[in-house]
Amino acid sequence: MEFPTSASPHVVAGYTVPRVMFQVLLALAPVLAVQVYLYGPGPLWLVAVACVTALACEALALALRRRASQAALRDGSVLVTAALLALAVPPLLPWWLLAFGTAFAVLIGKHAYGGLGQNPFNPAMVGYAVLLVSFPLEMTRWPLPGPEWDALTGATALDALRTGLRQGYTMQEVRAGAEFGRLGAAGSEWVNLAALAGGAYLLGRRIIRWQIPVAMLAGLAVPAALAHGLDPGGHAGATFHLASGATMLGAFFIATDPVSAATSDRGRLLYGAGIGLVTWIIRSWGGYPDGVAFAVLLMNLAVPLLDRVTVPRIHGHP
């Protein structure tokens, strides 16, 4: 009897990229739910706008690059980029700004470099950075959580903290403001908790591995705790940093984007720690309220070097 042949191994586990991507989307659901609870339906609308824009841009880019588009549109990777960007921007951002940022993320951040698997920078953060430098006002005005969510918008806690301290207010005075919550920033502390829950799910399902999130949180918390210990009046503590801004979203969803991250375990520890440290530096002394996006992009730049110096020891080699 005759049989078809194939190269070994003849059996595979059957994990697929689309399955990975949809697990990530599922894990983002709590973040979206908390944002809707805090800020009203705005975030839902933004996620929809970003997803539609992203799919359209992906189809356009694939058509321009003369690639088959069906599989790529269904792999879910572009939806993850869109959802991350939509959940990272302020909920009251005009929709066309988000559409612009998403288009930039997909067309320039992803496809200009060769599409899935080829982009050196996290596409969602490319989109975020472009929006932040182009529209700083719109990108830094967050609503205060509560029933009258559309009534008040203002600076974020991170912003208020830095400006307040620079203007000579004491830490107590600054932290008495409405922007602050129990742990970190009002509202965004709940978003952070939701992202932490989603991240725990991804860790449990082994979609992501622990190195990057743990290293990033440590890279942020350790210097924050040290600075707070040395100068409690001038620096917020580790808890505040962990529960504010995009910390948890960054640690579990953004920094863990494997395409633009370092590849070995040791490299990922360094990469994560670098993101945490740069985030803390930007938050403490930089010109922008949150530093996660820039920290991720800066460490993306360092990835080729990290990959070079962290090749693991091979069996049988000294």
Binding site: M1, E2, F3, P4, T5, S6, A7, S8, P9, H10, V11, V12, A13, G14, Y15, T16, V17, R19, V20, A71, D75, S77, G115, L116, G117, Q118, R209, P258, V259, A261, T263, S264, D265, R268, D307, V311, P312, R313, I314, H315, G316, H317
Partner: protein, 486 residues
């Protein structure tokens, strides 16, 4: 003696070993025609010493081994039909075709070996005549391996009973039924290689085999032998990884195990050694697992070398109809070789015939770009970064291939198994290796051509010089003569 997590990476795979193990090892009748591949799986061919028409008996030597090939003996009595190319499990190769006369007459020269009376070197010489080869799959000559070990002065003989491929269970069956043979074979090999002790390694998913082995060891009362139980993780049975797990020593890249004082042999080989010394029977048969959902009654068969695979399948009730057999694999589902036809014969290295249905080996998803997720690196048992190696292979970048350890890849397939982008990584690495060998051969040829050319040039130059010198000499002499004449 407890289970230790001693492998980085690797896979815990669903086992499919219960069905063939439900019954004891089934002896197969002698084939009417035995096809003996001169290459039994090691990659080198033995030299046939018979021609069409030669009368042979069971155990008559029909080919002489050299290098990585062992002696071959006729598994049947009868007449050599032909020495001709035939399809084998490792591609087309020369085979000795012996037609059986059905009488199974034993060669009168075969006699038991009083091994304990021989010293190491003499024992090695006798073992070399037994056609014994690595039954684990590599089919490397046992005596040659033991001789290398003896020369290097190894300290540990490691018996590999770690059958980590999820469908293969011939060693498990062997240990359950013939543990005392394994113990005897181990003692013989200890004497041959001069090691001080032997460790028999098997996995924690073989409690019956372990019990049988413990009983056999108790009977033997040989304190040099011990059992080590390891976790059932693929690919812990790979020689280098098993050595590291048991002895804690890593065989340096590019070196052989005796470098770290260890020699490794398969438990099936040990049983064959025992048979050779106690009955005088060379390696004429082996246990083959015939399994998969595409065969009616999976079983472990004791089949003679040279039996066509089709007869093994027939002995197991034949191919099933629903669902039909989709693929035929020689070896395991991860490292085995897909056979194009069931006419190929059993070789010393064939441990398993997997008759797989489409459901046994689901098709891969469509290949996608690498997303650098690193799952492959997490499972790589030798610590490679397959995703980086893949890039280097894709770019045909020799420096990258060297840096990321192409030479150290053991082609276990773990990276392929977990890759969410369904990239055929192992096949890519194999191709890169073939390309490198091709480049290497080209470079060698170019270097040889260059040397040849330079030598030719030098010869020409020397010739020209010599002619010029002769000419000048002649002229000087002519002038001198002329001057003298004045």
């Amino acid at each position: 003696m407890s289970a230790r997590p001693l492998l980085r990476g690797g896979l815990r795979l669903e086992s499919h070993k219960t069905r063939p193990l439900q019954q004891s090892v089934q002896p197969m009748p002698a084939p009417s025609t035995a096809v003996l591949a001169l290459d039994q799986g090691s990659g080198e061919e033995a030299q046939a010493v018979v021609t069409a028409g030669t009368r042979v008996r069971v155990g008559t030597r029909v080919a002489v081994g050299c290098g990585a090939a062992t002696d071959l003996h006729s598994p049947v009595s009868g007449e050599v039909r032909a020495v001709e190319p035939r399809p084998t499990a490792s591609g087309p190769g020369t085979c000795i075709v012996v037609a059986s006369d059905g009488r199974d007459e034993r060669d009168p020269d075969l006699e038991p070996l009083d091994w304990s009376a021989l010293d190491g070197a003499a024992l090695l010489e006798r073992l070399a005549g037994g056609g014994l080869a690595g039954f684990g799959g590599a089919a490397f000559p046992t005596a040659g391996k033991l001789a290398l070990a003896r020369a290097a002065g190894v300290e540990l003989l490691l018996l590999n009973g770690a059958e980590c491929e999820p469908w293969i269970c011939c060693d498990d069956a062997l240990l359950r039924e013939r543990a005392s043979d394994v113990v005897l074979g181990t003692q013989v090999m200890l004497a041959a290689c001069g090691a001080a002790r032997a460790t028999i390694a098997l996995e924690d998913d073989k409690p019956e085999a372990r019990a049988a082995l413990e009983a056999a060891l108790a009977d033997a009362g040989d304190s040099r032998l011990e059992i080590v139980v390891l976790p059932a993780v693929f690919p812990l049975g790979a020689e280098g990884l098993l050595i590291a797990a048991v002895s804690g020593r890593e065989v340096p890249s590019g070196a052989l195990p005796p470098e770290v004082g260890v020699v490794c042999q398969n438990v099936g080989t040990a049983a064959a050694v025992a048979r050779f010394v106690s009955e005088g029977v060379p390696a004429l048969s082996r246990i083959v697992t015939v399994t998969g959902s595409g065969v009616r009654r999976p079983a472990n068969l004791e089949a003679r070398i040279g039996t066509p695979v089709a007869e093994l399948v027939a002995a197991c009730g034949g191919y099933g109809d629903t669902p039909p057999a989709a693929r035929l694999i020689a070896g395991g589902s991860l490292t085995g070789r897909a056979l194009a036809s069931d006419t190929v014969p059993v070789t010393k290295g064939l441990n398993c015939v997997l008759v797989a249905t489409a459901a046994d080996l689901p098709a891969r998803a469509a290949q996608m770009p690498c997303i650098r997720c690193g799952d492959c690196a997490a499972v790589c048992p030798v610590g490679l970064l397959p995703q980086q190696l893949h890039r280097a292979a894709h770019a045909d970048d020799p420096a990258g291939l060297a840096r990321f350890g192409l030479a150290d890849c053991i082609e276990c397939g773990c990276c392929d198994y977990v890759c969410p982008s369904a990239i055929p990584l192992t096949a890519g690495f194999r191709a890169a290796r073939d390309r490198q060998q091709l480049h290497e051969a080209e470079r060698r040829r170019a270097a040889e051509a260059k040397t040849r050319y330079e030598r030719h040039r030098r010869r020409l130059d020397e010739q020209v010089d010599a002619e010029r010198r002769a000419f000048e000499e002649a002229r000087r002499r002519a002038r001198g003569d002329g001057a003298g004449g004045n």
